[in-house]
Amino acid sequence: MSASTTTSTHGTSAEYQADTNVGKIANFVDTRVGLSPIIKEFGRKIFPDHWSFMFGEVALYCFIILLLSGTFLAFWFDPTMATTEYTGNYVPMQGVEMSAAYASTLHISFDIRGGLFLRQLHHWAALLFSVAIMVHMARIFFTGAFRRPRELNWVVGCLLFVMALVAGFSGYSLPDDVLSGNGLRIVDGLARSIPLVGAYISMLIFGGEFPGHAIIGRMYIVHVFIVPVIILALIVVHLFMVVVHKHTQFPGPGRTENNVVGFPVGPVYAAKAGGFFFIVFGVLAAIASMVQINAIWNYGPYDPSPVQAGSQPDWYMLWTDGALRLMPGNWPFNWEWDLFNLVSLPMAVLLPILALTVFVIGMFIWPWVERWVTKDNRVHNILDRPRNAPTRTGLGVAAMVYYGVLMIAATGDLIATHFHVAVNDVIYLLRFLFFFGPIIAFIITRRICLSLQRKDREIVLHGRETGRVQQLAHGEFIEVHEPLDEYRRYTLVSYEDAQVMPAQENAKGKITGSEKVRGRLSRFFYEDRVAPVTPTELEAAHHEHAHDVDQLESAGSTSTRH
C-alpha cells in the first residue's frame, strides 16, 4: 500500500490516507477529535531546564501516586465507627473491641498481600507531597516567579498548599487509632474555641459530643472525594496557567523577557519529565518497602483515656501543634477571657490560630504587597537570582524561621528527652525565637545577599581567582585572575538595579498617608543595594589589570594568559 489521495467526501480537496496501521488509527482519531492542532501546539513547545523546576513536578507525581495507592486502599477500608471484635491474624489485638475503620486498617496491613506496602506508600507519598509543595513554593518565592503575570497562579498554589494540609490531616484521622483520635480531640478543642459559634461548630462536625459515631465517615468523604476533587481542579488550573504564561527562566545569555530557551517537549522534555515520574514512584516504593511508618497496630483503637508521651502529628501539621505549645495559658496573666459573661474567649487557643492565619494570609497576599511597595507592574518572565532581591530573600527566610520555630516547638518534649534539658527551657527559648528569630534571620540573610552581590561584582571586575600566584619583578606577589567569558559575565550583570522610589504625589498633587508608608517601605526594600557592573566600570578595571600584566611581562615571567 502506498499513501494516496482520493477525493474527499466534500469533493473539493484531497484527503490524507495513512499507510501503516498505527497511522490509520491515529488519522481516524485525528479526523474525529483534532489531534493535529494539539501536537502542533505542544509537540515542540519549549520548556526551560533547571534543577529547581522539578519540585512542582515531584508534587504532581506524588499526587498521582496518592490517587493510585489511595484507590487500592479504599477497596478494603471500611470507614465506619460501628463496633466490632477483631478476629484477624494480629495477635495483640485479637478479641479487642474496636471500630470497623481500625479493624479494616489492621486487615489491610496484615491480611491483604501488599496491603502494608500500599499503606506505607500512601503515607510516604503524602509526606513527600507536602514537602514538594513547600519547597516548590519556596523556589517560586525566592526567585520572584510570583510576579506579574503569575500572581493568580501563586494564589492557586497557596490554595493547593492548604488543601494538601487538609488532605493529609483527614487521611491521618481515618484509621481511628489512639494517635489519630487524639488529633481529632485537638481539632474538637480548636473548633470549640471559636468565639460565639465554636461549641455549635464542634457539635455539627462530630454529630454531637466528641468523638461520636460520625466523624470517620465524614472525614472519609472529605479525604477521598471533596479534597481530591478540589486538588485535581486546582492542579488543572495551575498547569493551564503555566501553559498560558509559559515557564519562567533564570537570567543568562540569550534569555530575554520575550523568549523561552530550553528543550522541546518531544522528545527531550517528555522523556525527562516522564522518566522522572517513574523515579519518584520508584524512590517512594523503595522507602515504603523498607521504612515503617504509622504503625497503628502499636497504638491500639481510639480510646479517650490513654495517650503516649512524645506523640507528634505528621510533619506538615507540626507547625500548628507547635503554635499551641508555645502560647502560655496563664502567664503573665490569665488568657481565658469572658466577654460580658456571655462568650468565653480561650485566648491561649485563639492567638496561636491567629499566628497561623497571619502566616497563611501573608502568603496569599504577598505578590500584591510587593507590587504595591515596588510599584512594579511589569511582566516578569526572567527570574531573580535570590541574592539580587536581598530584602525579599531576607523576608522569605524570616518567614521560614517563623514556620520553623513553630515546627520545632511541636517537638519540644522530644528535644527535652533526647538532649536532657528541661522542656520548659526549650519552650522559653522557642518563645524568644518566635519573636526575634525572624528578625535576626532577616538581617543576616539580607547581609549575606548583599555580600554575594559584591562577590559577583568582584568576579566580573577582576575575574575568577585561578589560585596561581606569581611574583613581580620588584618582589610583589600577585594572584593571576582569569577574566570571565562574556556568557558567564552576562549572567552576573544582567539583573535590574532596583531603586528606592520615594512617596509620590497623586493626581491632585497630594502625598497621601498610605503613599508615605509605601515610600518608607520602598526605602526599606532598596536602600541598601549593590548595583550591577557597567561596561565602563569593567573597562576601568581592565586598565588596572593590564598594568599588572605589563609588569608581569616586563619582569620576564611567563604569563599563562597568553
Binding site: 519549549i46 463496633t83 491474624n89 495477635v91 495483640p92 498481600r113 501488599g114 506496602f117 503575570p149 487524639n182 474538637d188 478543642g189 480548636l190 474555641s193 471559636i194 468565639p195 461549641a199 455549635y200 457539635m203 455539627l204 454531637g208 468523638p211 461520636g212 460520625a214 509559559k246 545569555p253 540569550g254 523568549n259 522541546p264 527531550v268 522523556a271 522518566g275 517513574f278 523515579i279 514512584f281 520508584g282 516504593a285 515504603a288 518497602s289 481510639y302 480510646d303 479517650p304 483515656s305 502560655p328 496563664n330 481565658e336 459573661n341 468565653s344 480561650p346 491561649a348 511582566v379 520548659n424 562574556e486 556568557y487 552576562y490 541598601d528 543595594r529 550591577p532 557597567t534 565602563t536
Partner: protein, 366 residues
C-alpha cells in the same frame, strides 16, 4: 536615569555601591553560548555504550516486576502475626513487604532512570528558542469587549432591570437550602457538655479492669486511672466513648500537709486522696503523666503542667484553667465513691462555657 537617582538619599550606613554618575549603560546580551558536544555526540562508541546502559536499565525494570510476583505468589504468610511463640508468619510478612515494594521500586526506577539517561545522552541537547506572546493583546481585548457588549445587549439584561434584579435575588436564595441542610449534621443542645456520668454514690473503678478502689489501696505516691462504675453498663452505640471522654479521672494520694485546699473543698478529698478530671483544659488531651516528686501533672500533647499541691493550678504550658476536681468520699464498704458530678464543665473551653459555669454555680448555690 542618572539625574533621577542623584536626588535620592544615599544609604545611611554607606552601603550603597553605586555606579558612577556617567550615562547608564548595560552589557549587550551575547546570545546563546555555543553548543558543547557530549561524548555521545562525537564518539559512536560512547553512544553505543549509552544505548546498552539504557537497555540494561529497562531490563532491571523487567526483573523488578517479576520480583513482585515472586514475592506475591512465592511467599505464604500463614498464621498469627506478632505471635511470641511462632515468629514465622511475621518474618514472612516482612519479607513479602520488602519483595513487593522492592519489586515495584525496581520496576519503576529501571524505567525512570533508563528514560532519563536516554534523554540526557542520546537525545539532542541543543537549546531551542521560542518567542513568548502577551497573555492578552490589545486587539484581542477590544474584540472580546465588543463580543461581551453584543452578548449583554442581546440578552437585554441592562434594559430590563426587573429581570436582572429578580435573577440576583433568586440566585442568592437558591443555594441557601443546601446550607440549611447542613443544620442536621449534629444536635445543637450544649447541655451534655456540662454533665458527666459522675453523681453522688458512683464508685470509682480502675481503667480498664473496672474493679472498685478501696481508699486503703491508694498509697502515697501511687496514681490510678479511674472511670465511673456506671460506665461499664454502656454499649458503644449508647455513647460509651462520648461518656468516657468526659468522665476519665486521675486519682492519687498526696501528703495532706503539703496540699493547699481552698474553702468549700475541704471534704472533697479522702485523707489526701484527690481525684481530678483527666481531660486537659487546653484542647482536651488526656493528662497521662504524673511527676510523683514534684506533684505535677503533665499533659503529653502540649506540656501543660498542673500543680497538685494547689488544686491543679496551671504552672506552665498553654492551659489557662486548673483541672476540675471531682468530690469524693468512701462508702460503707470502704470503696471510694463520688459525692457529685464535677462542679463545672470538663475539658477544653467552649464558646458558651462561661454561661454554663454561671448557671451551674447558681444551681449548686440553691
Amino acid at each position: 536615569m542618572a539625574d533621577h537617582r542623584d536626588g535620592l538619599p544615599q544609604g545611611k550606613k554607606g552601603n550603597v555601591l553605586d555606579r558612577t554618575a556617567s550615562a547608564p549603560e548595560t552589557f549587550q546580551d551575547p546570545g546563546l553560548p555555543p553548543h558543547r558536544p557530549r561524548s555521545t555526540d562525537v564518539d559512536s562508541g560512547a553512544a553505543k555504550r549509552a544505548e546498552r546502559q539504557v537497555a540494561l536499565l529497562f531490563a532491571v525494570s523487567i526483573i523488578g516486576s517479576v520480583l513482585f510476583f515472586i514475592g506475591y505468589f512465592g511467599i505464604r504468610v500463614d498464621g498469627d502475626i506478632y505471635s511470641v511463640t511462632d515468629p514465622e508468619a511475621t518474618s514472612a510478612l516482612r519479607l513479602q513487604n520488602l519483595l513487593l515494594g522492592g519489586g515495584i521500586a525496581l520496576g519503576m526506577l529501571g524505567i525512570g532512570v533508563g528514560v532519563v539517561h536516554w534523554a540526557r545522552t542520546l537525545m539532542p541537547d541543543h537549546e531551542l528558542v521560542e518567542e513568548r506572546h502577551d497573555v492578552v493583546t490589545e486587539a484581542q481585548r477590544a474584540e472580546a469587549e465588543q463580543i461581551m457588549g453584543t452578548i449583554l445587549d442581546e440578552s437585554g439584561i441592562k434594559r430590563r432591570p426587573l429581570i436582572r434584579n429578580t435573577l440576583i435575588g433568586a440566585a442568592v436564595l437558591a443555594p441557601l437550602p443546601f446550607v440549611g441542610l447542613l443544620r442536621d449534621l449534629g444536635p445543637l443542645d450544649l447541655t451534655p457538655l456540662r454533665h458527666t456520668l459522675w453523681e453522688d454514690g458512683v464508685r470509682l473503678v480502675r481503667d480498664p479492669s473496672g474493679t472498685p478502689i478501696k481508699a486503703s489501696d491508694v498509697t502515697l505516691g501511687s496514681t490510678f486511672h479511674v472511670l465511673p462504675e456506671n460506665l461499664s453498663g454502656l454499649s458503644h452505640d449508647d455513647g460509651y466513648l462520648d461518656e468516657k471522654a468526659k468522665a476519665v479521672v486521675l486519682l492519687m494520694r498526696l501528703d495532706p500537709d503539703t496540699v493547699n485546699v481552698s474553702p468549700g473543698r475541704e471534704d472533697w478529698n479522702v485523707d489526701g486522696i484527690f481525684a481530678y478530671s483527666k481531660v486537659c483544659t487546653h484542647v482536651g488531651c488526656p493528662i497521662a503523666l504524673y511527676e510523683q516528686r514534684t506533684h505535677h501533672l503533665l499533659c503529653p500533647c502540649h506540656q501543660s503542667t498542673f500543680d497538685l499541691a494547689n488544686e491543679c493550678e496551671v504552672i506552665f504550658g498553654p492551659a489557662s484553667r486548673p483541672l476540675p476536681q471531682l468530690p469524693i468520699s468512701v462508702d460503707d464498704e470502704g470503696y471510694l465513691v463520688a459525692t457529685g458530678d464535677f462542679p463545672e464543665p470538663v475539658g477544653p473551653t467552649y464558646s458558651q462555657r462561661v454561661i454554663a459555669v454561671n448557671e451551674m454555680e447558681e444551681e449548686n448555690g440553691n
